[in-house]
């Protein structure tokens, strides 16, 4: 064998040797054959500083795109406000962005926003109020003062108030012919019970009674420098953020004596029982559940609550009701906010499928103690929820709004990191223990059906959950 041939053989051997993995690489046909590598999720830490008047500012620096997201947030807890003030709050939320700001008339705000092509919203609800803007870095000088003014001096224009009232009324009236919204609204009423503001059916008179002065007074009550938190994300460094925010907010002081006194909390009085709200719809909509007064999002087990929310709802109830051809989207929810929680199932099906749908929901929930979520289901829930966290991190507005929301709603500056860690640490035992506490309709749930089930009220009576009350329809927004 000459040298040339030897080299060639070595080369061929190497080709074969290296090609073997490729030839042998019959692609797997099942995921079990794959092992995923480690995945590290880093929760960004913002820079922060405090302005002389006490307003805190957080900066998430990111220079990939020439964009800046701005948010100004403050706690706006309206749940326990007296009824008249709750109506003022809802109207305020509708009017906030539309009603002008500082020296800008409503029309001038609209014109400026259109001219700058910026995203500009104001929202109130979920325990907080927020004014958010997303704009090109080059438009900051023109856009940021508008954002500041909508936070510090919204005008709540009188003419736009009329429009906001009409639109709010239309929102409520829209409930009347939407079976899903009817079910949601009635279920919330039944969970809260008579004597609570959640029981009240909003009328035209309620909304027409809201005055501009009441809205202004309410807003000023929330607007405290120690409560406001500013967030900046995007193409800006710390020095620039400091300079700009100090110029925009640094010399602001609130009017004296306008702080809102704390409202007295009320308790829910759930109306356990079976209820039928008759309606001429092609589907029956169902809700079944109970309040969880002791569960809040501040619970140390909150990541477990989120895992159970998805794990039971999707992995068990949703998949089973899909597989049985009963429903397009029936599930359960385990939810909590800053005050309380609830566990409930909801969905819709054809009139002759209602009892099967209810049986499926109840059986899946009842089976949880004997058959808790397994490792695969926990992985599925964890993956989905980690994805939600990453989803928030992906955009400037998503990141800054979420992180500041954690602050103003009392979840804490490190809430996102704790959630990520909690999701990753959860195991079968901890979830089974949490499920035993929360995943249960209890002996006396609230069960509501909207529509015309086959067999009518008698069919529901056979469920063994007590007598059926046929509800008298109420009109929302009339």
């Amino acid at each position: 064998m000459n040298a040339r041939k030897t080299v060639l053989l070595i080369a061929l051997a190497l080709v074969v040797a290296n090609a073997v993995p490729a030839i042998a690489r019959e692609t797997p046909r099942h995921l079990d054959a794959l092992s995923l590598g480690e995945l590290h999720i880093a929760v960004p830490t913002p820079a922060s500083f405090t302005l002389p008047n006490g307003i805190r500012v957080y900066l998430f620096e990111n220079h990939e795109l020439p964009l800046v997201a701005l948010t100004a947030q403050m706690p706006m807890d309206h749940r326990f406000l007296p009824l008249a003030e709750r109506m003022a709050f809802r109207t305020m939320a509708k009017l906030w962005r539309e009603g002008g700001a500082g020296a800008f008339s409503p029309e001038a705000v609209d014109e400026r926003v259109a001219a700058l092509g910026m995203e500009f919203v104001a929202e109130a609800g979920g325990g907080r109020g927020q004014v958010n803007a997303l704009l090109m870095k080059a438009d900051l000088d023109a856009g940021a003062p508008l954002w500041r003014d909508l936070c510090l001096s919204p005008a709540f224009d009188a003419e736009r108030l009329e429009r906001a009232r009409e639109q709010l009324l239309k929102d409520f009236q829209g409930i009347n012919d939407n079976p899903d919204w009817l079910a949601e609204s009635w279920f919330d009423r039944l969970l809260a019970g008579p004597g609570t503001t959640d029981w009240h059916v909003t009328t035209r008179a309620d909304i027409e009674a809201v005055s501009r002065e009441a809205i202004q007074r309410l807003y000023q009550g929330f607007l405290r420098p120690e409560a406001i938190v500013i967030g900046v994300a995007g193409d800006m460094d710390l020095a620039e953020a400091h300079t700009r925010m100090a110029a925009l907010f640094g010399d602001w002081v609130p009017a004296a004596g306008t702080a809102l006194p704390p409202a007295a909390p009320w308790q829910r009085h759930p109306q356990s029982g079976v209820y039928l709200l008759p309606g001429d719809f092609s589907q029956c909509h169902v809700r079944i559940g109970r309040p969880l007064p002791e569960l809040t999002e501040r619970d140390l087990d909150y990541p477990l609550v989120r895992l159970l929310d998805f794990g039971v709802g999707i992995n068990r109830v949703y998949l089973r009701t899909r597989q049985e051809g009963l429903s397009y989207g029936t599930t359960t929810r385990l939810t909590a906010d800053s005050h309380w929680g609830q566990f409930f199932g909801f969905g819709s099906t054809r009139p002759d499928g209602l009892l099967d749908l209810l049986r499926a929901i109840r059986e899946e929930v009842a089976a949880i103690p004997e058959r808790p979520l397994d490792a695969g289901e926990i992985t599925a829930s964890r993956t989905f929820l980690l994805g939600r966290e990453l989803n928030a991190m992906e955009t400037l507005s998503g990141m800054v709004n979420r992180r500041l929301g954690d602050l103003v709603c009392g979840r804490g500056e490190d809430a996102m990191a704790r959630m990520v860690a909690g999701l990753q640490d959860a195991d079968e035992a901890s979830l089974a223990a949490a499920a035993a506490r929360w995943v249960d309709f209890g002996p006396a749930p609230v069960l509501l059906v909207v529509g015309a089930p086959e067999g009518g009220a008698e069919a529901l009576a056979g469920l063994g959950l007590g007598p059926v009350s046929v509800l008298e329809p109420v009109r929302f927004g009339d």
């Binding site: 719809f281 051809g325 991190m393």
Partner: protein
């Protein structure tokens, strides 16, 4: 994997030989990284095309901000491709594509296949019975009972939820959407799960088993009841679409007419997938935290073996415009809504940017003409939507105006105000400054959208499928700047002609109308 590549692999130096497995994969496909789209933001310069020998195109855009990857597979098959009388088929197939494969979910594949064949044969008979001029209800009931029994038998041989459960375990999020023109399979997966996505999607595209067809058909019927039958707005839109498109398949609702859904069959779905789910009819995009070299190899491994298949049939491109104004009235629910449609333009028509500009002028924001006139000034309406193409991307669509009427006002009042505004556009020149403002806002909005990987992936596949080249991704945005006041007026004169309009009123249900509710 693509075995013919081995024969084309050149002899390389020793160091390169060590990389051979990766190179083998990369060499199987045509890879290119041409010039970025003109005027587009710089990040598009990094888009890489990978065209497999079987015709399937992948667009790759690495971004490393968060450890996730947005993935899309667009199949150029939607409602418009359904055979006549089989509306809802494309959407039904999309549902079936989550039922697993001969590996995923199969407990006894051979036994299951035999029962599924029986179901398909009985399904053909059921379809025939339902499509007969006179429907024999007794025979339909017998066949339906046979199918139910067969599906119960088949269930013993498979776990039809396994595919969902497998996908759940590695994907942050996944879904599919069937539209008029396309079906898009979408997922967001962790950065360490790229191969898992490749595996599951290649399995789905090549080895779908049509499990639980009739049980899933019931789910689709529930979806229709939820989205349409109990939604007055949905039913009004269906009426408008049916009326505006005459004989064109765009007339059909994507979810299908109730009577068409009842007669769908497994063999029909099989034929549909064989026709349209071929590699040359698909485009995929990956945007996010991945290594392009690894992605190229995996693409070749998992998708390179798909047989190319013949090109699917084309769709009718001609939509006959109405010769006289068409009107319809629907009494359902308690709300009022006004829908107006005018014949639209083919996606490659030079009129498209002008039509889009018209839509923006009418309803972009609070300064737009319909918003100002009908909402802020007259208080007649809210939620005003104007769509230049009605969401249609392959054939001429429709220019749609949709208006939610406020309590105490009428459809007639709103329609009169709309026509007055349309007449202004026909007569007066729009200020050039307003057009420039909208063009600038569109460019900015495009940049806002670049924050999200899934948004970019969506745009890439849609531009490739709808416009023939992903590099047009920025073209439609840039085209706003070319629209002149004269062009806007000229198009308004052609477009907003009463005789070419289709008008639908949604009115509250009359006490004895008896039209509300179910199917």
């Amino acid at each position: 994997m693509c075995k013919p590549c081995l024969q084309r692999t050149p002899l390389l130096g020793l160091s390169a030989l060590m990389l051979l497995p990766a190179l083998l994969g990369a060499d199987c496909a045509q890879r290119s990284q041409g010039p970025p789209p003109a005027g587009a933001p710089p990040l598009f310069a990094a888009v890489e095309e990978v065209r497999l020998d079987n015709g399937m195109l992948f667009l790759l855009l690495p971004r490393h901000d968060v450890p996730s990857i947005a993935a899309r597979i667009l199949v150029k098959a939607g409602n418009v491709d359904n055979p006549p009388g089989d509306s809802g088929l494309a959407h039904m197939f999309e549902h079936l594509a989550f039922k697993g494969t001969d590996v995923m979910g199969a407990l006894d594949a051979a036994a299951e296949a035999a029962v599924l064949d029986s179901i398909a044969a009985t399904g053909d008979a059921l379809r025939q019975a339902l499509k007969a001029a006179v429907v024999d209800s007794a025979r339909v009931a017998i066949l339906a009972a046979e199918i139910a029994a067969l599906e119960a038998r088949a269930a013993a041989y498979a776990d039809a939820m396994a595919f969902f459960q497998l996908y759940d375990r590695f994907a942050y999020d996944y879904n599919a959407r069937t539209g008029e023109d396309f079906t898009i399979y979408e997922a967001t997966v962790p950065a360490n799960a790229l191969e898992a996505w490749m595996l599951i999607e290649s399995e789905r595209l090549q080895h779908t088993v049509f499990r639980e067809f009739y049980a899933e058909l019931e789910v689709v019927k529930e979806e229709r009841r939820m989205r349409l039958s109990d939604s007055p707005e949905g039913m009004a839109w269906e009426r408008m679409q049916t009326l505006a498109f005459g004989d064109h398949p765009y007339r059909n609702p994507t979810i299908g007419f109730a009577e068409d859904l009842a007669a769908l069959s497994p063999n029909l779905a099989r034929a549909f997938s064989a026709t349209y789910y071929v590699p040359g009819n698909m485009v995929a995009a990956l945007v996010g935290d991945f290594d392009p070299a690894v992605a190229r190899r995996l693409i070749d491994d998992y998708f390179g073996d798909m047989p190319p298949g013949p090109a699917p049939p084309t769709i009718p491109m001609h939509v006959a415009p109405p010769v006289a104004q068409q009107r319809d009235l629907l009494h359902q629910g308690e709300e009022r809504e006004l829908l107006m449609a005018f014949p639209g333009f083919a996606p490659d028509s030079p009129q498209v940017p002008v039509a889009r500009m018209l839509a923006e002028l009418l309803s972009r924001d609070a300064t737009a003409r319909l918003n100002r006139r009908l909402d802020l000034e007259a208080g007649v309406a809210r939620d005003i939507g104007v769509y230049a193409d009605g969401g249609l991307e392959r054939a001429p669509g429709m220019f749609v105006i949709a208006i939610d009427i406020m309590s105490g006002h009428s459809n007639e009042e709103a329609e009169a105000l709309v026509w007055a505004e349309l007449q202004r556009l026909r007569e007066e020149l729009v200020p050039a400054t307003k057009l420039a403002e909208i063009a600038a806002a569109e460019r900015k909005g495009f940049v806002f959208g670049l924050q999200r990987n899934d948004g970019i992936a969506d745009r890439l596949v849609r531009a490739q499928a709808g416009l023939g080249d992903w590099r047009q991704i920025y073209g439609s945005v840039a085209a706003y700047a070319t629209v002149t006041p004269e062009a806007v007026r000229s198009l308004a004169q052609v477009l907003f002609v009463p005789e070419r309009a289709t008008v639908v009123y949604l009115e509250p249900e009359a006490p004895d109308a008896g039209e509300g509710g179910g199917e």
